[in-house]
């Protein structure tokens, strides 16, 4: 037997059914005619011959049916029939179809959008061959770590600290000693750099990579060549590889870009290659740096605060290390061996003090790169995923409910079908086909909504400063498969109960007219249980939305301690080569002066740390006469600011004086502290005139005199209480080479003033770009983005939940009332008042609602613990929120059952009884 011929006939029968049927008909007619002629030749009468010929062949329709069975297409035909029937049924009740498909589409769309973001942030691997082999090195140690200086990734954990940064000499030592893994390679997110292309300055994101990086990542540039070991040597010709996105945006995909020289942080570098599309470097899959340069160029491109290059310093930990696993080699053995190497290298190179904890090496999964975003968004995404799952469950319950009511109404139809000989399995299949059709429509629409929602979400979450390195869209086959699976699952979930119901239909009882009364109770019960479940889910979602909304409201109510209105912020990042250490102060003075003279600017000041921007800096603060115990944390938050900082920010000076033009590089070194710091160290006494020491990068002690006390402000986030903070003037601060944020209080809108601010800065140095121009309000919006996003989304989910619950309650009560028309008629005939009937129906609905609310409350209380850390200014068991949500749901339940109750009260007993 041949598969090919089977496929051929099957395909022919499926695609050209009518033609095939006509051929079968013709063939059979020929048979009948020939046979009849033979019979007539045998002497039979014409009519009798035809009758017999037809009778012996059997019915034409049956023969056709049999022939299709022979081709194996009967299953397909039945499915087509089911589908056609399901479509007709849906078209007959467009209201139901609209509600079902609409609520499913919203549920599936929300899940698809959030899943696609979650997948992008948490699951997607780097776009390099065999990303699963990549391992990222990290270390942990106790809080008193031997590592004192980390640039980059560094996190406090429960038992100490965790980081994936290493010093360059230690990387080289690990690489030399490595036996079990493939060759170690290094990279570093070197942040923003100033690029000047054809005389135009702009900001690009950069990554430093080791010479074997491309070889080990197994990535080939789409144009030109990769960075190789020869480029990663001191004194080598400076080269860069650029990203596909930068090539497209800045160079219009011109092949002549190879060999072109651009200025990077004012250093001439030659472009040698263009990365392939989709390659995002080793940091994350979400954004790609625009330029990749060899690590050996670090002294030229990056070095600023250090005397000498950090390449030679074993004390400064900054570079990330990756390697690939080798088939057959044990990772545990590699970790043990390299940990021993790390231990001895730290002892030999860093000469740690006694008691310092030596870091322990960890080999972690590197297939997602460093992926800082996963750390930040993991919890919110999981919460959103769970909540959107609940919304979908709610939508399913809603449709199951509507379908149950419909299946009860369709009992007669099912009885007729059963009586006519349809198998129960056939009916089950018919019902499931209808559910799956609904699910498929909902899924398709949900995919569309999900796609739109995903783009909207990405736009909301994208960091404005990273907008250049636009997030890559994450819609993919994985998301599509998730969407399809979700639609199928929901179709089965809400379709099985009604299908089961209709399969159990009794032929006899349903064909009798009063069948509805005998089966009513059971249906009503099932529907009410589902509505109770819906109310419980809605309670969870509404209470969840409530606590997140209150968190946002609380955050917005926080007084930051300064006037956030009409402030425009931007950064200036002077290249070290043009402005070496010690020379930046004069530059900042000049820029402040030019900006202040710009029309529309009221006041201006520089600050090393912009407030409420998730930036922070801390340094030693040791009051004179205090001897800190060994290992004691003496660091406090600080900020290096300009002459008019307190005036510009409108932070009141409560004692002494502000910093000002009299504080110069040669005058007495002075400081302003805030009230929190004064309270902590001077116990309410006046700190003005007191001195303290702090230390610079070379660990030398510097003495400062406190000349003023200012009011408290929030520092890096709105959530934390104002921390103790001290302010130094940038002209007197230990190190201001990291660049400055300039804050201008303006009289006009940001868009109107940005060009004049830009030209003011460029009148000082035309190669200095303004980085990340934004208002203080936008800055605050950015740090509260997570909270706003979650409040918006959960609020949306909550409203959706209320609407769905409303539909569910209304549907069940309306159905129950219509089924009980007779009973209500009898009650009224026996003397029940209308108000009483109405109360009865409302009472039934409120019972359902109360049970649901109580169940939901229980669930909410059980889950509240999980989101406690995401809340601000309220307890996760916030009684007001929970009581409010409960009341809201009860109100919604009563409102939704009001119309059915009115209808019940309006029953005319005579008509109700006559109907019987």
């Amino acid at each position: 037997m041949s598969v090919g011929s089977r496929m051929k006939t099957w395909w022919r029968a499926v695609t050209r059914g009518a033609e095939v049927d006509a051929q079968v008909d013709e063939e059979l007619r020929f048979h009948i005619e020939s046979y009849a002629e033979d019979l007539m030749r045998g002497g039979m009468a014409r009519e009798e011959a035809w009758r017999q010929a037809k009778a012996e062949l059997g019915s034409l329709a049956a023969a056709r049916e049999n022939s299709r069975q022979a081709w194996g297409t009967s299953g397909f035909d039945e499915l087509r029939g089911d589908l056609r029937y399901a479509l007709r049924m849906l078209a007959k009740s467009p209201g139901f179809a609209l509600i079902a498909v609409g609520s499913l589409a919203l549920g599936i769309g929300a899940n698809t959008a959030i899943f696609s973001i979650t997948k992008h942030v948490l699951l997607d691997q780097l776009h390099v061959p065999h990303a699963g082999q990549l391992r990222l090195f990290a270390w942990t140690s106790k809080p008193d770590s031997a590592v004192h200086s980390v640039w980059g990734d560094y996190h406090s954990t429960a038992g100490g600290v965790h980081s994936s940064s290493f010093s360059y000499p230690i990387y080289q030592e690990l690489r030399r000693q490595n036996r079990d893994l493939s060759d170690l390679f290094a990279f570093k997110d070197a942040g923003r750099m100033d690029a000047t292309v054809n005389g135009q300055a702009e900001v690009v994101h950069s990554e430093l990579v080791s010479g074997n990086y491309y070889q080990q990542m197994e990535v080939q540039p789409q144009l030109g060549r990769a960075i190789g070991p020869a480029d990663d040597k001191p004194g080598a010709q400076p080269v860069v590889v650029i990203s596909n996105g930068y090539w497209t945006r800045r160079f219009n995909r011109s092949p002549s870009v190879i060999g072109k020289t651009i200025l990077l942080n004012l250093q001439p570098v030659t472009i040698i290659g263009v990365n392939p599309r989709g390659f995002t470097g080793a940091n994350s899959v979400q954004t790609s740096p625009e330029v990749f340069a060899p690590i050996a160029q670090e002294p030229l491109l990056v070095a600023r605060i250090w005397t000498g290059s950090i390449l030679e310093s074993p004390q400064r930990w900054w570079v990330q290390i990756m390697a690939r696993t080798r088939p057959g080699a044990s990772e545990a053995a590699a970790q043990a061996q390299l940990d021993a190497t790390l231990h001895s290298a730290v002892l030999a190179l860093m000469k740690p003090k006694a008691g310092d904890d030596i870091p322990r090496l960890l080999i972690t999964d590197g297939s997602h790169g460093m992926n800082e975003a996963a750390r930040q968004f993991s919890q919110p995404l999981h919460v959103l995923l769970a909540l959107s799952g609940l919304v979908l469950l709610l939508a399913c319950a809603n449709i199951a409910n509507l379908l149950l009511a419909r299946s009860a109404a369709r009992q007669r139809e099912m009885s007729v079908r059963l009586a006519l000989g349809a198998g129960r399995a056939r009916i089950l299949r018919q019902m499931l086909t209808e559910s799956l059709l609904l699910a498929a429509c909902g899924g398709a629409l949900g995919l569309l909504l999900g796609y739109v929602g995903q783009i909207a979400l990405l736009r909301l979450t994208a960091d404005p400063s990273a907008s250049e390195a636009a997030m890559q869209t994450s819609f993919s086959w994985g998301v599509f498969a998730f969407n399809a699976a979700l639609a199928l699952l929901t179709g089965i979930l809400f379709g099985v109960a009604p299908a089961w119901q209709s399969m159990r239909t009794q032929v006899h009882s349903s064909l009798k007219d009063n069948a509805t009364t005998t089966t009513r109770r059971r249906h009503g019960y099932g529907g009410k249980a589902i509505v109770g479940f819906q109310i419980a889910l809605s309670m969870l979602l509404v209470a969840g939305a409530g606590v997140f909304l209150r968190t946002l409201v609380n955050l917005n109510r926080v007084d930051p301690g300064f006037d956030t209105r009409n402030l425009v912020l931007f950064e200036i990042d002077p290249p070290q080569s043009r402005y070496p250490t010690g020379k930046e102060g004069a530059l900042y003075d000049q820029i402040e002066e030019r900006l202040a003279a710009t029309p529309g600017v009221e006041s201006v000041s520089a600050a090393s740390i912009p407030l409420l921007a998730r930036d922070n800096s801390n340094d030693d603060f040791v009051p004179a006469g205090m001897k800190p115990a060994k290992g004691e944390n003496t660091a406090e938050n600080d900020d290096y600011v300009g002459d008019r900082f307190f005036a510009t920010m409108r932070i009141p000076i409560v004692a002494g004086r502000s910093l000002g033009p009299q504080d110069t590089t040669s005058s007495l070194k002075v400081a302003v502290v805030n009230e929190a710091l004064a309270r902590k160290y001077y116990k309410g006494g006046n700190p003005v005139g007191k001195t303290f020491t702090t230390s610079d990068e070379e660990n030398q002690e510097l003495l400062y005199t406190i000349v003023g006390v200012c009011a408290n402000t929030r520092y890096s986030s709105l959530r934390d209480d104002p921390p103790p903070t001290f302010y130094l003037h940038y002209r007197q601060a230990p190190d201001v080479s990291w660049g400055m944020t300039f804050i201008a209080r303006t009289r006009v809108a940001r868009a109107a003033i940005a060009p004049s601010l830009r030209s003011a800065v460029q009148s000082v140095d035309r190669d200095l770009p303004l980085i990340n121009v934004r208002t203080q309000k936008e800055q605050i919006d950015e740090i509260t983005m997570d909270e706003r996003l979650i409040a918006d989304l959960t609020g949306g989910f909550g409203i959706l939940a209320l609407v769905l619950a409303c539909i569910g309650i209304y549907g069940v009560m309306a159905y129950s009332v219509s089924q009980r028309t007779n009973e209500i008629g009898i009650r009224m005939a026996l003397g029940a008042e209308r108000a009483r009937v109405q109360r009865m129906v409302l009472g039934e609905a409120s019972w359902m609602a109360v049970l649901g609310v109580v169940a939901g409350l229980g669930g909410a209380l059980a889950l509240a613990r999980l989101i406690a850390s995401m809340l601000y200014g309220l307890n996760p068991y916030d009684p007001a929120t929970f009581a409010g949500s409960a009341l809201l749901l009860l109100g919604v339940a009563l409102a939704a059952s009001w119309i059915p109750a009115r209808r019940a009260a309006g029953v005319d007993p005579m008509r109700a009884l006559r109907h019987e």
């Binding site: 037997m1 011929s5 006939t9 059979l28 020929f30 020939s34 059997g58």
Partner: protein, 121 residues
Amino acid sequence: MAKDAEKTMDLLQGTLDMLVLKAVSLGPLHGYGVLLRIRQISQDRLEIQQGSLYPALYRLEHEGWIAGEWGQSDNKRRARFYHLTAAGRRRLEAEAKKWNQFADVVGTILSTVPEGTAASR
């Protein structure tokens, strides 16, 4: 058509396919022709249910053992003629071989006589 219950036999399960293949192997036939041919070869001893003929033809065509083509019948009308394919010929040979073996075995069993009886004869 008069039927004589003594003379006609019911078909054994599964043999219809083989008979159709055999009938068609002697030359292209339309459906009604297959019926006549089998009746003729069996000398009217074998009666085929007309209702089961066409599903069998379609099944065999579906399997690729026979192929159908539209042509003209003796009485100048359009009819569908079936002929054996190469795969069908192999199938027929295999089936015939199996059938002969089967008939052989069954025949042997049925012709066996008890040993005692032989001795007494």
